[in-house]
Amino acid sequence: MSLLLLLAGLVAHSFSQRSASLETVTRIAGMVGRLQLTDLCLFTEASYTRHLAMTDLSTPFQDSPFSFEHFPTGALVAPPPHLGRSNGRLN
């Protein structure tokens, strides 16, 4: 059926884009290295949504860990795993 062909076509499309995508990603990775960036620019609402990897413990949980999320996109990302290590002390 035509739908099956369509899906197959799209799958093929994704594979065909691979090498071009890899080049672009490599270029961007280079830029990340040069500028020493740590985060993707996805959600610029607040500091802790913009720099997920850099945020400290208190900023996202300003009132309390159980209070509602202040910024809508905060609901889209879980806090980074390394946040659980309080202030850098490793287990």
Partner: protein, 377 residues
């Protein structure tokens, strides 16, 4: 029975004709089902592609970053700490990093200012990200003004707009020289925001991080793979919004299934009776129901997944944009590289097509096994 392929074809033809007979009802069913699969697949595709891309782009992120905390909050770090850290075995270099946020009241947008270590703009100039260029309608050679930490206005000429190809990392960036930034931000002369370490042996990251913490208890080292792992959780099923979407989809599906499972209409039962009376076996009837289930759910699956692919990779997830924007006024276009996970495709298939086919066959089981002579009464 002879010619079983032909037999299946006949049953399939009959089933399709039967589905077309009740166009409106089956059409509505198909549409809703396709929609559910579309939303589900879109979320899955988006999350997967984004995570994949993040992994690729953050390959060269700094090996170790050392932050300093003061009363639980992120604070500037004295440059003297760098001297102490340089002594640790395995650390090949320690450099200060200067960056921060700036809120632009006029456009209600947050910018990120970064001082690059190489090819920094000359004093009085800045490079801006493509997102800023769009929001402020600013281009090369334009002058942008910001108020510094002490309220003093600063004007900068735009040297270059960073290509939008890299907007997923650079859309909101302002690149500035160190002197300009220190004057602008008020960061004390002997402090930096954090320190960037280069390490000789990647296997040593954790050990070095431990040493730093012991040496300087008010610091928090973050290592490269932690930074990278942060983005594994983006749009994953654990994030609140995605969980809500999935639950809604599951609920809708459950309603469907319940509706089907609660039994056949009298009309359908009569038809099955007639088929049995004219010589169809129970297995023929069940195959008919099987094909009915497959026809609807497979079509919905193929259509839903294809549409999801087109949605995410050709329209940059236009339907999700309000969700992804939140309150930000500056946001990148989510032009993701097409990438699919066969695991996800298979899982979606198993979770949508298979249960539907089962809920189509099961209620018909009893009707299919009636004695044909019941029809004669």
């Amino acid at each position: 029975m002879a010619g079983s392929i032909e037999r299946q074809r006949h049953i399939l033809d009959f089933t399709l004709a039967a589905l077309l007979r009740r166009k409106a009802k089956n059409g509505a069913l198909l549409t809703v089902y396709t929609l559910i699969i579309f939303i589900l697949s879109s979320v899955l595709f988006f999350g997967h592609a984004l995570r994949q891309q993040a992994q690729g782009m953050l390959r060269e992120t700094p090996e170790i970053i050392v932050q300093r905390t003061l009363s639980g909050r992120y604070h500037t770090i004295p440059l003297s700490y760098a001297d102490a850290i340089k002594e640790i075995r395995g650390v090949s270099s320690v450099e200060p990093r200067l960056w921060g946020y700036h809120y632009d009241g006029n456009s209600m947008a947050n910018y990120t200012i970064v001082v690059p270590v190489e090819d920094a703009p000359p004093e009085g100039s800045i490079d801006i990200g493509s997102g800023i260029s769009k929001v402020r309608l600013a281009n090369e050679r334009d002058v942008m003004g910001f108020n510094g930490f002490d309220g003093t206005p600063h004007g900068f000429t735009i040297r270059k707009v960073i290509s939008s190809e890299s907007q997923l990392v650079s859309a909101d960036l302002i690149l500035m020289s160190e002197r300009d930034y220190r004057a602008f931000s008020g960061i004390p002369a002997n402090h930096a925001i954090d320190l960037v370490l280069k390490v000789r042996n990647p296997k040593e990251y954790t050990t070095i991080a431990e040493k730093i913490t012991r040496l300087l208890p008010d610091t928090r080292p973050i290592i490269r793979n932690e930074i990278q792992r942060t983005y594994n959780a983006v749009f994953s099923w654990r994030s609140g919004v995605v969980l809500v979407i999935f639950s809604a989809a599951a609920l809708a599906f459950a309603i469907f299934a319940w509706d089907k499972a609660s039994g056949l209409s009298a009309e359908e039962r009569r038809e099955i009776g007639i088929l049995k009376a004219v010589g169809w076996e129970t297995s023929d009837v069940l195959f008919m129901k099987f094909w009915e289930g497959v026809a609807v759910s497979l079509t919905a699956y193929l259509a839903g997944v294809s549409l999801a692919y087109l949605h995410v990779f050709f329209t940059s997830s236009c339907l999700f944009t309000p969700l992804l924007k939140g309150w930000s006024t500056l946001y990148p276009e989510f032009k993701l590289m097409p990438s699919i996970s066969f695991g996800q495709l298979t899982a979606t298939f198993l979770l949508t097509v298979v249960p539907y086919v089962i809920t189509t066959i099961l209620p018909s089981w009893r009707a299919a096994t009636i004695d044909p002579d019941a029809v004669m009464r």
